[in-house]
C-alpha cells in the first residue's frame, strides 16, 4: 500500500562531508530513506555512524564551512529542502519539522521559564500571544504528562527532573503541530524507568496526534518497542532496511546480525556476550568497497573492491550484502 502513497519525507542519496585540514570526513555518504505520514521509523546505528548529522541536515543545521552537503535530495512534501535558503528553513523548522535533542539538560535555556521556552515557537510561527498562548502551553504540558502543569509554567529548567525536562522538550517540539518530529536519541541521557515512560509517551502522542516520527537511536531494545520500520545505518550508509519484524526475525546483513547477536538475552545466560570485532571506521579513512568488510565474518574478495548494492528480499526488506543474498539464492 505504501508504494501508492507519496512519502512525507524522502531522503535520496544524501551526502554530507566535513572538510578537514588534510582530509574530508564523509560522515553521511549516500543515505536514502523514507518516512510516510503517521509512521514511526527508526534509524539505528552505533555512535559515529552519521545518524545525528543526517538529522541535522534535514533541518539545515549542519554548520557550513566545515560541513558541506555534497549531494542528494531531501524531499519534504515534494519540495527539495536543499534548495531552501535560511529564511525558508526558518519557516519549516519547529513549524513543520521539529526536533527533540539528546540532552534535555543542555537543550533547555537555563535563564528562561518553561512557559517562555514552549511559547517561543508558537509566538514565532503562529503569532499567538497573551492568555491564549498560556492556555496552549498548559495544554501541551498536560499532553506530555507533566503533573500540575499550570504551576510548572513558571519553573526554570534546573527545577525539573531529567524525565520532566525531556517531556518539556517534547512539548516544545509539539508546540506548532509539526508534521514530522525528529527525535535524536531522546532517551539516551535518562535512566531505564524514565526511558520506558518517554517511549510510552512517544507512542501515545504519535497515535493521538497522527504524527510521523523519525526516531534515531542506538538502542535495539527501543527499536523493537516502537518502530514500524527500521533503517540500519553503518559508516554513513544504510546497510539494511525493512519492517521491524523482518529485521529482528531474519536479519540479512552481517552487521545487523552482529548487532542482534550482541544483545543480552536470557538464553545466553552465563555465556560471554558476543561483540563485533573491530570498531567503526574513521569517516575520513573509510575502507574501499563495502565499509563493513574489515569486520565482516562473511567477507569475500569482491567485498574489498566493490561497493555493494541493496538486495531486495521482498516486502520492503532490503540489505546491502550480495554475499548473503547469493548464498540464499544457492
Amino acid at each position: 500500500m505504501e508504494q501508492n502513497r507519496l512519502p512525507l519525507l524522502s531522503v535520496q542519496d544524501l551526502k554530507v562531508y566535513f572538510q578537514g585540514d588534510f582530509d574530508t570526513a564523509r560522515a553521511v555518504d549516500g543515505v536514502g530513506f523514507e518516512v510516510f505520514s503517521e509512521e514511526m521509523v527508526c534509524l539505528v546505528g552505533e555512535s559515529g555512524c552519521g545518524k545525528t548529522v543526517t538529522a541535522l541536515s534535514l533541518l539545515g543545521l549542519v554548520a557550513v564551512p566545515p560541513g558541506r552537503i555534497a549531494g542528494g535530495k531531501i524531499l519534504f512534501k515534494g519540495q527539495n529542502l536543499l534548495d531552501f535558503d535560511e529564511s525558508d528553513f526558518q519557516k519549516i523548522r519547529g513549524n513543520q519539522i521539529a526536533m527533540v535533542f539528546q540532552e534535555p539538560l543542555t537543550s533547555l535555556n537555563p535563564v528562561f521559564t518553561i512557559e517562555d521556552q514552549i511559547g517561543e515557537a508558537i509566538k514565532i510561527h503562529k503569532h499567538v500571544d497573551g492568555e491564549s498562548l498560556r492556555e496552549r502551553c498548559i495544554r501541551l504540558l498536560q499532553d506530555v504528562g507533566i503533573p500540575s502543569a499550570a504551576e510548572r509554567l513558571n519553573d526554570y529548567p534546573h527545577q525539573l527532573s531529567g524525565g520532566q525536562r525531556q517531556r518539556v522538550m517534547i512539548a516544545m517540539a509539539l508546540s506548532c503541530d509539526p508534521d514530522l518530529i525528529i527525535a535524536d536519541e531522546p532517551t539516551t541521557a535518562l535512566d531505564v524507568t524514565v526511558q520506558a515512560q518517554i517511549l510510552q509517551l512517544f507512542r501515545t502522542l504519535q497515535k493521538k496526534r497522527a504524527l510521523s516520527v523519525l526516531y534515531i537511536t542506538h538502542d535495539l531494545g527501543v527499536v523493537a518497542n516502537i518502530a514500524r520500520r527500521v533503517y540500519v545505518m553503518y559508516a554513513g550508509v544504510i546497510v539494511e532496511q525493512g519492517k521491524t519484524g523482518h529485521i529482528f526475525g531474519k536479519a540479512r546483513h552481517p552487521y545487523t546480525q552482529g548487532l542482534l547477536a550482541s544483545l543480552p538475552t536470557r538464553s545466553k545466560r552465563g555465556q560471554r556476550l558476543y561483540s563485533i570485532p573491530g570498531s567503526v571506521p574513521d569517516p575520513a579513512l573509510k575502507p574501499a568497497g563495502c565499509p563493513f568488510h574489515p569486520r565482516c565474518p562473511h567477507v569475500i574478495e569482491n567485498c574489498r573492491s566493490r561497493f555493494p548494492d541493496l538486495c531486495d528480499y521482498g516486502d520492503g526488506h532490503l540489505a546491502r550484502c550480495p554475499v548473503l543474498f547469493n548464498q540464499k539464492q544457492d
Binding site: L56, L59, L61, P65, F89, Q90, K91, I92, R93, G94, N95, A98, M99, F101, Q102, E103, T106, S107, L108, N109, P110, V111, F112, E120, A121, I124, H125, P147, S148, E151, N154, D155, Y156, Q159, M169, M172, S175
Partner: protein, 391 residues
C-alpha cells in the same frame, strides 16, 4: 469519595507543594548575595554614594544653592575641618550652611564639603556613562565576533566596512555632510552586492565575480585585531591626547573614557558567545525556527550578561579613577566645576599645611572604588552557577 481517599489526596497536595519550592532567580540571587558581608557593605556604600551624588546635584546648583561650591572667602582660607567661620568678617550670604566648614576650606576659602558634593555627581556620571558606552560597544562587537565570527569576509564586504568607518570618522570630526553621504553610499553598496549576489547565484558566474568570491579573512579576525590594536595603545595617554585636542567638557571626557575602554567587554562577550554558541539550547532554538538576531539577543545575551555586568561594576571604579587622574593632571573637567580629582590637584601644594584638602577626597575615591570592587565581586560569586551548586 471516602475519607481515606480524601486524606490521601490532601497528603499528596501537601507533598507536592513541599517538593516544589518557588524561588525566583532574583530571590535565589539575593539569598546568595546576602551571605557575602563585604559585598553588602559595598552595596550600601554604593547606595549612599548614589544618594549623595543626586543630592549634591540639587544642593549645589541653581541661583542660590544650599551649599555653594563657588563662594570665595579669601579671609577664611585653609580652615581645618569642622571649624567655625569667623562671622565678623563674612557677609550673610558667605556664611556656610550649618555654620561650620564640615571638610574645611581650600586656598580660596571655598567650602570643601560643597565642592565634594558637586564633584560626586561628576564621578558618578563619568563612571556610569563611560562604562555604559564601553559595555554597549563591547556587547555589540563581541556578540558579532562570537556569533558570526566564522563568516568569511569577501572583497565587497571589506570595501563596505572601510567606507563605513570613513563615514563615521568624518561625522566624528564634524564633517557631517560628506560623512552622511559616504554612509548612504555604503548602504547602497550593501544593497547592491546583496542583490547582485542573489542574481549571480541564480544565473551562474558572471564575469569578474571571481574576484568577489575570494575569502580574505573572517569577521572574528577583523574585530579581534582591532581590539588588539586598541589594547596596544597606552590608553591613559591616548585619552590625554584626545582631551587635549577636543574642547574640555565633562561629556567629552565621559565619551573618551568610554571609547577607550570597551576592549575588555568585547573580549568577554566574545568568549562567552563562543562557548554558548556550541550549547545544545542554541541548536534547539534554531531547530524551532528562531532567527539569528533573536537567538543572539534573547537566548544568548542573558546567559552572557552576568560576567559582563560584573566587569562593568569594576569598570565603573576604574573610570572614576581615570577621571580623577585626568583632573589631577589638569586635563579633566574645566576649573570652576569641582571634581574629586581636581580638589586633590589643587590641594597638593598645601599638603603639609592643609592635609584635609588631599586626604578627604582621596579617601572618598578610595571608599567608592573599593565599594564598587567589593560589590562587583559579590555579584560575580552570586551569579556564578558553579558556586551556586554548592549552596
Amino acid at each position: 469519595m471516602t475519607l481515606t481517599q480524601k486524606n490521601g489526596q490532601a497528603r499528596e497536595n501537601r507533598l507536592e507543594k513541599a517538593l516544589t519550592p518557588k524561588r525566583s532567580r532574583l530571590e535565589e540571587f539575593w539569598v546568595l548575595f546576602r551571605k557575602n558581608r563585604l559585598a553588602i557593605a559595598g552595596l550600601v556604600i554604593f547606595i549612599l554614594f548614589f544618594a549623595t551624588a543626586l543630592a549634591g546635584l540639587f544642593l549645589t546648583s541653581g541661583q542660590n544653592p544650599v551649599f555653594d561650591p563657588a563662594q570665595i572667602r579669601l579671609q577664611e582660607k585653609l580652615r581645618p575641618p569642622l571649624s567655625k567661620p569667623n562671622l565678623d568678617t563674612l557677609l550673610p550670604v558667605e556664611v556656610p550652611r550649618l555654620n561650620r566648614y564640615l571638610f574645611g576650606t581650600d586656598e580660596l576659602g571655598r567650602d570643601v564639603f560643597a565642592r565634594m558634593l558637586q564633584g560626586s555627581w561628576v564621578s558618578l556620571t563619568v563612571g556610569f556613562v563611560a562604562v555604559g558606552i564601553s559595555v554597549f560597544i563591547g556587547i555589540f562587537l563581541g556578540g558579532i565576533a562570537g556569533y558570526f565570527g566564522q563568516v568569511l569576509m569577501k572583497l565587497d564586504h571589506i570595501l563596505a566596512s572601510v567606507l563605513m568607518a570613513a563615514g563615521i570618522a568624518l561625522i566624528v570630526v564634524d564633517r557631517l555632510l560628506p560623512g552622511i553621504l559616504i554612509l548612504i553610499l555604503t548602504g547602497a553598496l550593501f544593497m547592491f552586492t546583496v542583490r547582485a549576489g542573489k542574481i549571480a547565484r541564480g544565473r551562474g558566474k558572471a564575469a569578474g565575480s571571481g574576484l568577489l568570491e575570494i575569502n580574505i579573512f573572517s569577521v572574528d579576525t577583523l574585530i579581534m585585531r582591532i581590539v588588539d590594536i586598541m589594547i596596544c595603545f597606552p590608553s591613559f595617554f591616548l585619552i590625554l591626547t584626545v582631551v587635549a585636542l577636543l574642547p574640555a567638557s565633562i561629556y567629552n571626557i565621559m565619551i573618551v573614557i568610554g571609547l577607550t575602554s570597551w576592549m575588555g567587554a568585547t573580549r568577554f562577550v566574545r568568549a562567552e558567545f563562543l562557548s554558548l554558541r556550541e550549547q545544545d539550547f542554541v541548536a534547539a532554538a534554531k531547530a524551532l525556527g528562531v532567527g539569528n538576531l533573536r537567538i543572539i539577543f534573547r537566548h544568548m545575551m542573558p546567559n552572557a550578561i552576568a560576567p559582563v555586568l560584573v566587569s562593568a561594576t569594576i569598570g565603573i571604579a576604574s573610570a572614576i579613577l581615570t577621571e580623577a587622574g585626568l583632573s589631577f593632571l589638569g586635563f579633566g573637567v574645566p576649573p570652576p566645576h569641582a571634581t574629586w580629582g581636581n580638589i586633590i590637584a589643587d590641594g597638593k601644594r598645601f599638603i603639609f599645611d592643609a592635609p584635609w584638602l588631599t586626604f578627604i577626597p582621596g579617601i572618598a575615591i578610595l571608599v567608592v572604588v573599593l565599594s564598587f570592587n567589593l560589590f562587583g565581586e559579590g555579584l560575580r560569586d552570586a551569579l556564578n552557577p558553579k558556586l551556586r551548586e554548592r549552596h
